[in-house]
């Protein structure tokens, strides 16, 4: 496509030479527009930095290649806007169907920046150079007023504080996911559109462009299989990791936030987990290395306990529990991490022990609360009576 348009431009230039009257060379235009202070009637700057333009991607083109309506000098005061799609037809058609189609500003330069200083996307001067993309998108998507107006979350700050944002801004990693890695560039669709790269069913594939190994594991697990089978209630990457505020999974904050996420679907498992020491100590802070959901169930290749490959399969428990509890034996792994002390059928021993302990607690306290209240009343009564007998001096 690029070659084809270059040939077309070259042909155009040749034709222009063949008809000398219509030619306006860069130097002719720059004679006036080279002055950076030049303004049009409405006060907009119409100056062009000649050296920057010459070095830019379009530097070899004549001005009229883009400003096609200008044929001669002097030109009219009002000129029609540049139509980028004359050359970049594919990008333009992608944009036309995207969420940015209705953007009122000139959509191309909103992202690509100054039209006379456009550089290849692998050039650090480019507004769409990977390390510059978040800032470019952030012009609008980091703007609280715009976010409010269009009902968008302020994703820029979430992204910049995420593991991807840190890799990009602190590490300067070109491979760190930036906005367009997931959303694409021209043909950006809403996540509600089944064709979008951020549509729920397409998320594993989108993340898998970089995280191929994890995605392969995920697709073997119950969640991956369910999503592949069309069950969109099953979680994809972003349900656990979030879309923009992605944390390093070993970080305390992530260890704290993830258990309730699993529990938002697995409610009964969360409530029984809450009753265990794992949760009670772990709930106090993420630094405590007590078992969270994925420490036992693993995070991506989650298999049912009945599957012999599952770490929570009966045959693998000694190894799985032994990762934290050295010396775990067959008896030790009969411990139930999701025991329900309120379920008489499932955990009868635990049920009756809890019942006994509760009755002991309630019985003891009830007896002594009554005993103490009666005692208090009687003591006070005796005290007052004694004092009034003393002549009411201390009554």
């Amino acid at each position: 496509m690029k070659t084809a348009s270059s040939i077309a431009l070259a042909l155009g230039a040749l034709l222009a030479i063949a008809a000398p009257r219509a030619v306006i060379a860069q130097t002719d235009c720059l004679a006036c527009h080279g002055d950076m202070t030049l303004q049009d009637a409405s006060g907009h700057s119409v100056g062009v930095a000649a050296h920057t333009f010459a070095a830019s991607l379009h530097g070899s083109l004549q001005c009229t290649a883009c400003h096609t309506t200008i044929k001669e000098y002097p030109h009219p005061d009002k000129v029609t806007p540049v139509e980028c799609q004359n050359c970049h037809a594919d990008q333009a058609s992608g944009l036309a169907g995207s969420v940015h189609a209705k953007a009122s500003e000139h959509p191309c330069i909103s992202c690509h920046g100054n039209a006379h200083a456009i550089f290849p996307k692998d050039d650090p001067r480019s507004a769409v150079y990977p390390l510059n993309i978040p800032r470019t998108c952030g012009h609008c998507h980091g703007d609280a007023a715009l976010a409010k107006k269009y009902g968008l979350t302020n994703v820029y700050s979430l992204y910049m504080d995420s593991i991807h944002g840190f890799a990009l801004s602190k590490g300067g990693l070109l491979v760190a996911a930036n906005c367009q890695s997931c959303h694409g560039s021209h043909h950006i669709l809403s996540h509600t559109n089944p064709l979008s790269s951020t549509y729920k069913a397409n998320i594993p594939k989108t993340c898998g462009k970089c995280h191929a190994g994890i995605t392969a594991d995920y697709e073997l697990g119950v969640h991956g299989k369910a999503v592949a089978a069309g069950n969109l209630k099953a979680p994809v990457c972003t349900d656990c990791h979030t879309a923009h505020a992605i944390l390093q999974p070993t970080e305390a904050a992530f260890r704290m936030q993830s258990t309730p996420i699993c529990g938002s679907c697995h409610k009964d498992k969360l409530s029984t987990y809450r009753d265990t020491f794992h949760s009670q100590l772990g709930g106090l802070g993420g630094y405590v290395q007590t078992a969270r959901c994925w420490d036992c169930h693993v995070a991506h290749e989650i298999l049912p306990a009945s599957d012999p490959r599952s770490p929570v399969n009966q045959a693998n428990l000694v190894k799985t529990c032994g990762r934290c509890h050295p010396g775990a034996n067959l008896s030790f792994v009969q411990y139930q991490p999701h025991a329900n002390a309120h379920d008489r059928k499932l955990n009868p021993a635990l049920y009756f022990i809890r019942l006994f302990m509760n009755l002991l607690l309630i019985g003891t306290l009830t007896f002594f609360v009554i005993h103490t209240i009666l005692w208090l009343i009687r003591s006070r009564y005796t005290q007052i009576k004694k004092r009034s007998a003393d002549g009411g001096k201390n009554g």
Partner: protein, 286 residues
């Protein structure tokens, strides 16, 4: 009783102006109580955040003791100290009863073991509450004091055993079935909760906050009480000692002002911490 009399003789010099004072608790007994309540407050303050880890104050308390990992360390530290104190006490009882052949450890007026009189005292006390009879004449240890003692004794065995079973779970799994590892947490937390609720409400009121002792009974801190207090609280013991002519052997010097002040600071701090923990515990339910 021999050591009690010896300690009394040691500290007794003269009759105070305010009247005579008698020794109730030996230094060792007071030290045992001090160790008990210090470690118990520590165990409660570090155990409750784990029991109610979802509540806001739990996380604040956990970070307050120096981070999340520290809370379990302090819990275990207090547990080990309390276990040692418990073992020393049991050894002491054992030595006195079986090596020194001391009488009255397991029966009689000075024993902690419940007797028929305790049942009669309980019923008589309730009759007195309701205005149906005279106040029972208590001896050295009343029935509620014996209950406190045995509640703590039983509690330490139950909470201690279940606690160590969790601490050394893989080791205990050699002797215990798998479901027992689930049960020990239920036992540990329920019994711990009972101890906390009981001590910080019933024991505090019965011993310290009721009108007769308000705001605090100092005898467990100073070891001494006045003759009037002795006569009123435990007339039976007073009369028995007087009849046996052993009353003078228990005479002691009145507690010094520094001793009282120190006891007040320690005592009120302990009660304040206990009441705060009680409020936090109840706030998790209501």
């Amino acid at each position: 009783m021999a050591d009690l009399e010896a300690a009394a003789a040691e500290s007794w010099e003269h009759e105070e102006k305010e009247g005579r004072h008698f020794l109730r608790f030996t230094r060792a007994q007071r030290l045992l109580h001090a160790t008990l309540f210090t470690t118990f407050l520590g165990l409660a303050a570090t155990g409750l955040p784990m029991r109610f880890s979802e509540s806001v104050w739990a996380r604040a308390l956990a970070s307050g003791v120096g981070g999340f990992g520290a809370i379990l360390f302090f819990h275990k530290l207090c547990a080990v100290v309390l276990t040692l104190a418990f073992l020393i006490h049991v050894r002491d009882i054992f030595t006195r009863a079986f090596i020194h052949r001391e009488k009255g450890i397991f029966w009689g007026a000075n024993s902690m073991v419940a007797s028929w009189k305790d049942v009669k005292d309980l019923l008589g006390h309730i009759r007195w509450f309701l205005g149906l009879g005279p106040r029972p004449q208590f001896d050295r240890y009343s029935y509620w004091e014996k209950f406190d003692y045995w509640a703590v004794f039983w509690g330490m065995v139950v909470i201690g055993f279940s606690g160590y079973a969790m601490w050394f779970a893989p080791f205990f799994a050699h002797f215990l079935p798998g479901w027992a590892l689930n049960a020990v947490l239920v036992i540990h937390s329920e019994e711990g909760l009972l101890a906390i609720l009981f001590i910080f409400s019933i024991h505090f009121i019965n011993t310290h906050l009721r009108p007769d002792s308000f705001p605090m009974d100092m005898v467990i801190f100073t070891g001494m009480e006045s003759e009037e207090e002795f006569k009123n609280r435990r007339p039976k013991e007073y009369q028995r000692l007087a009849a046996e002519g052993k009353l003078e052997a228990r005479l002691a010097e009145a507690p010094g002002i520094w001793q009282l002040n120190f006891s007040r600071v320690v005592g009120f701090t302990a009660v304040a911490i206990g009441l705060l923990l009680l409020v936090l515990t109840l706030s998790a339910y209501f």
